[in-house]
Amino acid sequence: MASMRDIRRRIKSIKSTQQITKAMKMVAAAKLRRAQESVVSSRPYSEKVQDVLGRLAASTKDYSHPLMEQREVKKVGLVILTGDRGLCGGYNANIIRMTEHMIAGTDKPVGLVAVGRRGRDYFRRRGIEITEEYINIGDNPTYIQGKELAKRLMVLYSEGMFDEIYILYTKFKSAMSMMPKTLKLLPVQPEEGEEIKEVEYIYEPSQAGVMNVLLPSYVETTVYQALLESKASEHGARMTAMSSATDNAVEIIDKLNLTLNRARQAAITTEISEIVSGAAALQ
């Protein structure tokens, strides 16, 4: 059995780890609240944009915009949204695993646009081409950041660097549950809803003019939304991971305390029996 001093030392070390995980949990919880608010409040916009785009596309079947044009796929771009830091359960690992699946599942060359340090480091070590990288997005992505990333992606697409771009992000449901997802970003394929009616729209200034505003704006919102969803998921995952780490620490400390008490008891018993037998020897 370990000596009492060793056990005390272990308890102390676990206690200080517990303090750190507890602090991280609280920080994540505070950040989660803010991130959650921005996800929820930005959802109506992206839903509306998708809505309008879907209805427009349904009533303009014969029309094609450069961002909607299907090309022969020579190279696939994957935008992977991971965190800059670890200690957040399976959050980064899920996206990385999904990315590997995608890479394994295609026979086309793949380039990565890595958002977040974790994903970049992982794939760089494995020698996979990283076309662009965005590190230090911060805890609250702004629309401007989403817009810049989206603009860059549209340039990569229209310059022919990539012929298809997918975005891999983590959809936020609640602090406990989040889902890694893949979305085809470019070329734009509006979702075909069932109840979309064909409406004869008046376009101002023209169909092309409207599409020129709508499509980039759709891409921007989708990217922004994905950034927000991922950030909220990251904080949620970190909170859950740190919360269970804290609980585990409590459990280990309890166990160690028990062992410590038992060891102490045993030491006392030995001492008593030594004294008693010493006294008996004197008689």
Partner: protein
């Protein structure tokens, strides 16, 4: 619901600014200001930086927006804007200083001047000031 009401919504990436019934609406469309009354034909238009004016309960109200688009379908008007501020939320002094800054940059005409950007900034500032008046 009033008889000639339009369901009106202004949504930005950050949040839903307004959602409610209004009587009429004037927006800065790509080809100039454009009015929408109830039972308008389905319409999609790009919006410029400018002032949106709408009447709610008989009272005119104003709002500064910076680009986006408007969809009207089935008596429902949705403005999707990059930013939108109702008149009571506009920081006039900030808009004023932004206007002066943009004007200064435009008048100096430095070689590295991003003309388009400065002009956009000026337009945004002017529309904010207008909406707040």
């Amino acid at each position: 619901m009033a008889e000639n009401a339009i369901n009106f919504e202004v949504v930005t990436p950050e949040k839903v600014i307004i959602s409610g019934n209004i009587d009429s609406l004037i927006v800065p469309a790509a080809l100039g200001y454009l009015g929408v009354l109830s039972n308008h034909a389905p319409l999609v238009t790009a919006l410029e930086i400018g002032v949106v004016t709408y009447r709610q309960d008989g009272k005119p109200k104003k709002m500064a927006i910076s680009g986006g688009f408007l969809e009207v379908v089935n008596n429902k008007a949705v403005v999707l804007a990059q930013t939108a501020e109702t008149e009571d939320k506009i920081d006039v002094s900030r808009a004023q200083s932004a206007k002066e800054r943009a004007e200064k940059r435009l008048s100096e005409r430095n070689a590295d001047l991003d003309l388009l950007r400065a002009e956009m900034a000026l337009k945004r500032a002017v529309s904010r000031i207008k909406a707040a008046q």
